[in-house]
């Protein structure tokens, strides 16, 4: 049942509990319990809103930064990641396989603000060897949703 609940609320976290129960053919209370348990177990970590900021008047820039580090004795990667992800400017931090170690997503109001963060906060960190900053120019698809256009139902209204 968990997988089915997650598959639905991953796409629509605002769905009514009642509707969810009907769709899955389950008892409403059982679904509520399951969700509560998954929140406790940190399987469900939050309920966010997917916003296309490009359609607002708000100016935002986003950058993906490749970070190479030297893991330190007794610290490993996790400690370094923690020092990075504590900054509120940082949206996401992933440990990567391949040519660099972390992918860091940063959000700022201007390119200058992001550049400043990299040069003043990220690069000077002891374990950080190098960074490469890539600015996001346009988001086409995010969290499995195409941002560019709304979809319209082009089917004929009545067909056999």
């Amino acid at each position: 049942m968990r997988e089915k609940i997650l598959a639905i609320i991953e796409k629509n976290s605002r769905i009514d509990l009642k509707d969810l129960a009907i769709l899955l053919g389950e008892n409403e209370a059982a679904i509520a319990n399951e969700i509560a348990d998954m929140e406790k177990e940190h399987i469900i970590c939050g309920y966010h809103t997917l916003i296309n900021w490009d359609n607002t008047s708000e100016e935002k820039v986003m950058a993906l930064i490749e970070v190479k580090v030297t893991p330190q004795r007794g610290m490993g990667f996790d400690k370094i990641a923690e020092r990075i992800y504590q900054y509120s400017e940082v949206n996401a931090v992933y440990l990567m396989s391949g040519a660099f170690d972390f992918t860091v997503f940063i959000e700022g109001k201007t390119m200058r603000q992001v550049a400043q963060f990299v040069s003043e906060k990220l690069s000077p960190m002891e374990s950080v060897l190098s960074t490469a900053t890539h600015f996001v120019l346009k988001k086409y698809k995010d969290h499995g949703t195409v941002l560019a256009e709304g979809t319209t139902d082009e089917r004929m209204l009545i067909t056999p």
Binding site: K4, D153, R155, M156, L157, I158, T159, P160
Partner: protein
């Protein structure tokens, strides 16, 4: 000037759906629950294969029966899903939708006066195609009390010495009824005993909820008597690609192929290449879509129950077939008023045969948001009829 028309054609009634479509088209902001096709786009990997075939310049005719690799994939699919084996070289052909297969199967099998048993409510083309093939349609009225299944009693009642073909339309459009293996076995016994043939329209075979589809062709002795029709429209959301197929004993298929060869030549080449990708890598897509339909099916059935609309639980396709008998209106009246007063378009059950009177076909191939809005309007309409609002 002489009458340019054939009497036989003029006598055939245009589809009841067409009539209703014209009314709906006048309504600008109507919400429709009236479609007979999936709400998904064709999965991208399938579309891409079609695009790729165009880029490579595969823009020629294929052989009449279809691409060899597609026929091989169809046979391997039929054997892995439904445990029936067909020879790709002689027992399967690719058609322009399942609808072409229905037409040519009837034309290949009927002589003037041969009777064709057609259970109704069912898809709109069986009766006119039978008439066009010089056959005589004999309707079997299915009933809600049997969950709209074909029973042995109903079948035996209509068999005469002239009966040649039985059309078996399950999973059913418009009722959503399915036939279980043990129920098909009963039908198969009668078919063999009475020396009949079956045209089994299994276009919704992938869309069953709760139990897997069984084909009547899988029962002993039945493969030689069955034209199995399936296609890509419903299971892979490929309606516009116009691609279906028929699997049948060689003697029948050869004659079907002859009609196809002269009337159609071959099914669209681009669609055939795309269909190869669908059969090779599409199982997961089908599974995701099936699960999604199933959820919405439950949602609709639950909503009908809450608004006091009697409806048997359908286990196939993407339709529900609720009864409106308690309102003392015909299906046509109800559907027309629902459209005019609440701007919700549904299809009157009578579009699928006279015995569909008192029912509506309501499709759930829509987003949850769309369904919710339409259902709340229906609820309002019913409350008004019941004098509660």
């Amino acid at each position: 000037m002489r009458n340019p028309l054939s009497d036989r054609i003029v006598e055939i009634q245009p589809s009841g759906i067409r009539k209703f479509f014209d009314i709906v088209s006048e309504m600008k902001d109507a919400i429709s629950l009236g479609v007979g096709e999936p709400d998904f786009d064709t999965p991208w990997h399938i579309r891409e294969e079609g695009i790729y075939s165009l880029e490579k310049g595969r823009t020629f005719y294929t052989s009449n029966a279809g691409l060899k690799e597609l026929k091989v994939e169809i046979c391997s699919y039929l054997s892995r899903r439904f445990e029936v084996t067909y020879d790709p070289d002689h027992e399967v052909m690719v058609t322009v939708g399942g609808s072409e297969a229905i037409d040519i199967a009837l034309r290949a099998m009927l002589d003037p006066g041969d009777e064709v048993l057609i259970p109704q409510p069912s898809y709109v083309s069986y009766v006119p195609c039978t008439i066009l093939a010089n056959g005589v349609p004999v309707i079997i009225d299915l009933e809600a009390k049997d969950q709209f299944k074909l029973t042995s009693e109903k079948l035996l009642e209509k068999i005469t010495p002239k009966t040649k073909v039985l059309v078996l339309p399950f999973p059913n459009n418009p009722t959503g009824a399915v036939m279980k293996a043990e129920e098909l076995e009963e039908i198969a016994k009668i078919v063999i005993e009475k020396d009949l043939f079956v045209i089994s329209d299994e276009i919704y075979a992938e869309l069953t909820y709760g139990s897997d589809h069984t084909t009547i062709a899988a029962f002993p002795g039945m493969k030689d008597r069955t034209v199995l029709i399936n296609g890509f429209s419903k299971s892979y959301a490929m309606t516009g690609w116009r691609l279906g197929y028929a699997a049948a004993p060689r003697v029948i298929l050869e004659q079907m192929l002859k009609i196809h060869q002269f009337a159609i030549m071959c099914a669209p080449t681009t669609s055939q290449y795309a269909a190869v990708a669908a059969l090779r890598d599409g199982d997961k897509d089908v599974q995701v879509m099936r699960e999604s339909y199933d959820q919405r099916r439950r949602y609709l059935i639950h909503a009908f129950k809450e608004m006091g609309l009697e409806c048997f639980e359908p286990h196939g396709a993407f339709y529900t077939f609720p009864s409106i008998k308690r309102f003392g209106m015909t299906s046509d009246e109800f559907a027309t008023r629902l459209l005019r007063e609440e701007k919700v378009a549904v299809v009157p059950g009578t579009a699928f045969g006279d015995c569909g009177e008192g029912y509506l076909r309501i499709s759930y191939a829509y987003s949850l948001k769309n369904l919710k809005e339409a259902l709340s309007r229906m609820d309002r309409f019913i409350k008004k009829l019941d004098g509660k609002a």
